[in-house]
């Protein structure tokens, strides 16, 4: 059974109220959901909190899921909306800042640098990239994350953002141009 069929089968069971199926769905997709949210907002603790909200939303919205649709597309739509709502909430409470994972002490998955100097340089690199991604408009941010990091196709991104494929290409082009300017000096 290919992954898409497995997700659809699990969602059918979730619709029927099967919580073990829901747990399996979480375990299958927790990494990509948390990673996507973390890349967008930079705060590791908040990323897990928001990821939980995403999965709970998936559970409560299971009745609206149609098996003909790709589950990950539907899931990423909820992720995109959750991130966008979080940015809106933070803009209303401007005192809260978007802290990077390194500031909160959360260690990244791949901490290869043993040298303190190299670790500091890497830390700054991570912070610069995170800030540049975080400063992108919502749709550009989601498009670049799904394309660059999650390997989603233009068609899948178009479904998530409810726009056309040419619009996705335009979003990605503008995002790249902005990131080139923001990250000049690092490449």
């Amino acid at each position: 059974m290919i992954a898409e069929d497995a997700d659809a089968a699990l969602m059918v069971r979730v619709k029927a109220g099967d919580q073990s199926a829901f747990r399996e769905l979480i375990e299958r997709h927790q990494r990509v959901v948390i990673a996507t949210i973390h890349r967008a907002i930079g705060d590791a603790w908040e990323a897990e909190d928001l990821a939980q909200r995403v999965f709970i939303q998936i559970y409560h919205s299971a009745g609206r899921y149609q098996p003909t649709a790709k589950f990950t597309t539907w899931m990423f739509t909820i992720v995109h909306n959750t991130i966008r709502n979080e940015y809106r909430r933070r803009s209303r409470h401007a005192a809260q800042s978007l802290e990077s994972a390194h500031e909160t002490g959360w260690e990244p998955a791949d901490q290869r640098a043993a040298d303190p100097g190299e670790a500091a340089a890497n830390s700054e690199l991570q912070a610069r990239i995170q800030a540049a991604i975080g400063d992108l408009p919502a749709s550009q941010r989601t498009a670049i994350i799904l394309c660059r990091f999650e390997g989603q196709s233009y068609e899948e991104i178009a479904h998530v953002l409810d726009c056309s494929v040419p619009a996705v290409k335009s979003l990605l082009h503008r995002a790249r141009e902005t990131l080139k300017e923001q990250l000049r000096g690092l490449y």
């Binding site: 747990r23 990494r31 948390i34 990673a35 590791a44 709970i56 994972a101």
Partner: protein, 111 residues
């Protein structure tokens, strides 16, 4: 100005640079905590849909206020117009009285 080849090279470099961005792995027990959070949610009561009517009620109340104010304003404008007509009509009738008197005078002066 950057040549196309330079721009393409910069695009590739930025794309490669993004690939160096590190994300995080789920913490241990994430699925367990999510399930606990789900089961800890209080069940939604049968009337849980009522709060969604709250803003509908607010909107209706605002509409009622606007309509009431609009009706009141219209009534005031109508009354003001009526008074204006009455006032100017009185002047108009006064003019007719003067003209009628002048006609009488004119008639009396006729030989």
């Amino acid at each position: 100005m950057n040549q196309p080849s330079q721009r393409s090279s910069d695009d590739d470099k930025v794309w490669e640079l993004l690939g160096r961005h590190q994300s995080i792995e789920p913490s241990v027990g994430f699925a367990d905590r999510t399930m606990r959070r789900l089961t800890a949610e209080p069940p939604k009561p049968a009337w849980s849909w009522l709060p969604s009517l709250r803003w509908a009620g607010v909107g209706l109340a605002a509409l009622a206020v606007v309509v009431t104010l609009g009706i009141g304003q219209h009534a005031r404008d109508t009354r003001r117009a009526e008074l204006y007509v009455q006032t100017h009509q009185a002047d108009y009738l006064d003019d007719f009285d003067v003209i009628a008197a002048l006609d009488q005078l004119a008639g009396e002066n006729q030989l």
